[in-house]
């Protein structure tokens, strides 16, 4: 069905179901409970980030997972996508269709140029070339060097680009929404389902982003299983040999690079469509590094791993960073005071302002104990329950022929 074999189809259905039910699955605790206040992640802004960054890393994985080429400047495409989208809001209207289309096109153009140049080198030389391009673009955007040159505003520097009331918005109709919308369907409107102490929020913007991620995921399965994907894997295993067979590998590589850049552009456009402001720091090397880390953390070359990697990092960034000492004290208030203080003092360095420490330790732990990334953890758990379900991990993915 859908051109997928049964195993991929099952994976695809699982992803669809997870996306559909995320507002429920991510809010497992009653709203007013202390666990709910701390650990519920089912609010729209974070769910949007889960799927958008998931989409971004799925795209990145097409390049890195299949070809082994490590781009260290992928955030640049995310950034230009966002800038393109916000400019569409400023010039045309808040309708997200032109914004998203343009963000993909612009990111595609940038990736053609950068890919064409950077792919003349391989290995770490390629990584540094992509990094250098991204850092240049970051600096140009951060100080709005293009804008300065023409005496206008292009990226609006560090403040970031946002939509003002006096922007032209040529296509803006009378009474049209003043927030991003899809032909009138406002992205930030939601409906809330209350069950007992629980509360689940279903938001338009999230479901639109999730839809794009599902489409992106489907496309990525098709690419992984296509002759094109095979070709990319072949390049990964031995590019020189491929060249000796008389095959010009460059067009394949460039295609992979551009596809992956367009995924990033789409993600950037979606980020802007969910929240119409963008800034240069979206393109900084740490943002590119974060994409790489998400992919490795989840499991390079697996279909689903990158999505999990993105989810874990965004969860830490948004949930763990908000746990402060007061919250810790409220958790352990049932203990005798000395014990409460002891436990809080032990835990406190790892949460709140210390959430980076947790992040760093997590990276190390995953690489040391789970060489295949978080996907391997999933497999181990499945194996534990005796279900010998073959999952789509790097090894099987890399060695099995396309079905």
């Amino acid at each position: 069905m859908l051109g997928l074999n049964s195993r991929d189809l099952r994976l695809f259905v699982i992803v669809c179901a997870l996306c559909l039910l995320a507002p429920i699955l991510l809010n497992p605790f009653p709203v007013a409970s202390s666990l709910g206040e701390s650990f519920n992640a089912g609010y729209p802004a974070l769910m949007q980030r889960f799927v958008i960054f998931g989409l971004l890393v799925i795209g990145f994985n097409i390049l890195f997972g299949l070809t082994g080429y490590l781009s260290f400047g992928h955030a640049a495409f995310l950034g230009v996508g966002s800038f393109a989208a916000v400019w569409m809001f400023k010039l045309l209207s808040y309708n997200i269709v032109p914004a998203i289309i343009l963000s993909v096109i612009v990111a595609g153009l940038f990736s053609v140029v950068i890919g064409y140049i950077a792919l003349r080198r391989s290995g770490i030389y390629f990584s540094i070339l992509t990094l250098a391009f991204a850092q240049m673009m970051y600096s140009i955007a951060y100080s709005d060097l293009v804008g300065k040159m023409f005496g206008t505003i292009v990226t609006n520097g560090e403040t970031g680009l946002q939509v003002y009331n006096d922007d032209p918005q040529f296509l803006m109709g009378e009474g049209a929404p003043t927030v991003p919308h899809l032909f009138g369907l406002e992205m930030n409107s939601a409906f809330t389902w209350k069950v007992g102490g629980w509360e689940f929020i279903f938001q338009n913007g999230y479901y639109l982003s999730a839809l794009f991620m599902i489409l992106g995921f489907y496309l990525s399965i098709r690419i992984f299983r296509s002759p094109f994907g095979m070709m990319l894997r072949a390049i990964k295993s031995n590019q020189t040999r491929m060249s000796y067979t008389g095959l010009d590998t460059k067009p394949y590589m460039l295609a992979a690079f551009v596809i992956s850049g367009m995924y990033a552009g789409l993600a950037g456009g979606l980020l802007a469509a969910m929240d119409p402001l963008t800034g240069a720091e979206r393109m900084f090397w740490t943002a590119s590094g974060e994409i790489v880390v998400m992919a490795i953390l989840g499991g390079v070359g697996t279909l689903l791993g990158p999505v999990f990697g993105a989810g874990v990092i965004k969860y830490l960034e948004n949930i763990v960073s908000k746990i402060n000492s007061d919250i810790l004290h409220s958790w352990f208030a049932f203990m005798p005071e000395w014990m409460e203080n002891l436990v809080v003092n032990i835990l406190y360095p790892f949460v709140g302002k210390g959430w980076h420490l947790t992040l760093g330790l997590l990276f190390m732990a995953v690489v040391i104990f789970l060489p295949g990334g978080l996907m391997q953890l999933g497999e181990k758990i499945l194996a534990l329950f005796g279900r010998k379900k073959k999952s789509d991990d790097a090894k099987t993915g890399a060695t099995e022929p396309a079905e």
Partner: protein
């Protein structure tokens, strides 16, 4: 399926009334509620403290957080009440806000606009915060202010000094207590004229981003107004670290004054390098002693720059060494709780939290539009800055500005800066349509849902 604007707290309200049938799914229309985003339910109200806890301004953010926690204590009637005792309005009586106990959540902005917005969104969407306070950079303040405007909650800015925050990026739901680049320039001008005369040649090094640009523009205008010549303005990359390449040209430029439009780590490094490595403070140019000016000071930066700031002029919004009753009360409660004096950004966040609470009390509602109305053109005193007005036209506070100087012979580790002059408010005031603030549109207050 009904679609409506998102609001969690509002939903809870109706939920409490209608959802008697416990586990039965209840479909709700979110617009059938109090009429604004996150209307507080029950006997508590939640506010969000969004400050940098990691990254270059972490220390500053943590100091803001301390002051914010102190403000919440005072609002809830714990501690000694701090500035509640000196505040000219006497509506706050230690029973929370409108009888509701104040709770707070914290978040990490990392001093990145994206992250700060994500954190603010989670406060609004997940925690049901009715007000966001804090921040340590103008880029972040402008980003979060825009978000709060869209979401329909109040933003009480923390440390943000760019003219744009209440200039071309002003928003109806956003309020700034902190002073700005223009005020720094206007306050420093006359003092510099007094100290250094009318015939100086100034060389500007400016951090290449929005705050740096507006700060430099303001300083150039005010120094040229006292007859100084601007030799050159050089933009330096943010986080450059090594400023040698920008400092060596100063030596032979014929300039006798260096204006460092830098903040944070940039300021610590550029000032340290100018003083200790290139000996600029010991030079004599055009028969005058070479001088350095740092328009915006903060205690933490002063501590980072150590003895290099001795005799260097700058400006501040507030300083713990002021002698008025409000300052004394705040420094006492802060000092007793944490063991050291509060920073200027801590003061701003503390005052902003109290001002918000007071505005809600006077308005009699948490509705942002009521709060906006209560804060616009509001006059108050007793908060450490003398008589102050929140101007309605741009939501900027107008009050005295402090001209500071690096202490020559510090007696203790907190004695880094001394107050040279309290510049009267009249001298730093400007029209809302002043060219440096022109453009932009306050818009209408947005109560959200």
């Amino acid at each position: 399926m009904s679609k409506s604007n998102f609001s969690r707290r509002g939903v809870l309200a109706t939920g409490a009334m209608t959802a008697g049938g416990l586990m039965l799914p209840t479909y709700l229309r979110a617009d059938a509620h109090a009429g604004f985003t996150n209307a507080p339910q029950g006997d508590t109200v939640k506010i969000g403290f969004n400050v940098p806890q990691t990254g270059p301004y972490a220390e500053e953010g943590l100091d803001e957080l301390r002051a914010q926690e102190l403000a919440v204590e005072h609002l809830n009637g714990m501690g000694d009440g701090g500035m509640l005792n000196t505040f000219s309005e006497k509506n706050l009586d230690g029973t929370g806000i409108l009888g509701k106990k104040v709770e707070f959540v914290t978040g990490d902005t990392q001093t990145k606009s994206d992250v700060a917005r994500a954190s603010a969104q989670s406060m609004i969407q997940k925690d049901g915060c009715i007000m966001i306070n804090g921040g340590s950079s103008s880029g972040v303040a402008i980003a979060v202010q825009g978000l709060c405007q869209e979401a329909g909650v109040i933003f009480m800015a923390g440390l943000t000094h760019s003219n744009d925050t209440t200039g071309k990026d002003k928003k109806a739901n956003g309020f700034r207590h902190f002073f700005n680049g223009y005020m720094s320039g206007a306050a420093l001008g006359p003092v510099l004229e007094n100290e250094y005369g009318n015939e100086r040649r100034a060389y500007h090094l400016t951090a290449d981003y929005t705050w740096g640009w507006t700060q430099q523009e303001s300083m150039q205008a005010s120094t040229e107004a006292i007859g100084w010549e601007t030799v050159q303005n050089v933009l330096t990359p943010v986080g450059a670290g090594d400023f040698a390449s920008y400092l060596t040209p100063v030596i032979n430029s014929g300039a006798d004054t260096l204006v460092l439009n830098h903040y944070g780590g940039d300021m610590v490094n550029s000032l340290t390098q100018a003083v200790t490595q290139f000996g600029l403070k010991d030079k004599v140019v055009n028969g005058k002693d070479f001088k350095i000016i740092v328009p915006l000071y903060s205690e933490l930066m002063a501590a980072g720059a150590g003895s290099n700031i001795e005799g260097v002029f700058g400006s501040m919004n507030w300083n713990w060494q002021l002698q008025d009753a409000g300052t004394a009360a705040f420094v006492k409660s802060f000092g007793e709780k944490y063991g050291f004096p509060p920073s200027g950004s801590a003061h701003t966040c503390y005052v902003q939290t109290l001002l918000y609470a007071d505005a809600v009390t006077r308005a009699g509602t948490f509705n942002p539009c009521g709060v906006v109305e209560a804060l616009e053109d509001f006059d108050f005193d007793g908060m450490g800055n003398g008589p102050t007005t929140y101007r309605g036209a741009d939501h900027q506070c107008f009050k005295d500005v402090l001209v500071m100087k690096g202490t020559e012979n510090p007696t203790n580790q907190y004695d880094t800066l001394e107050i040279v002059e309290v510049t009267p408010r009249a001298q730093v005031e400007y029209e809302p349509d002043h060219p440096m603030f022109a453009g932009g549109d306050l818009g209408e207050c947005n109560p959200g849902a």
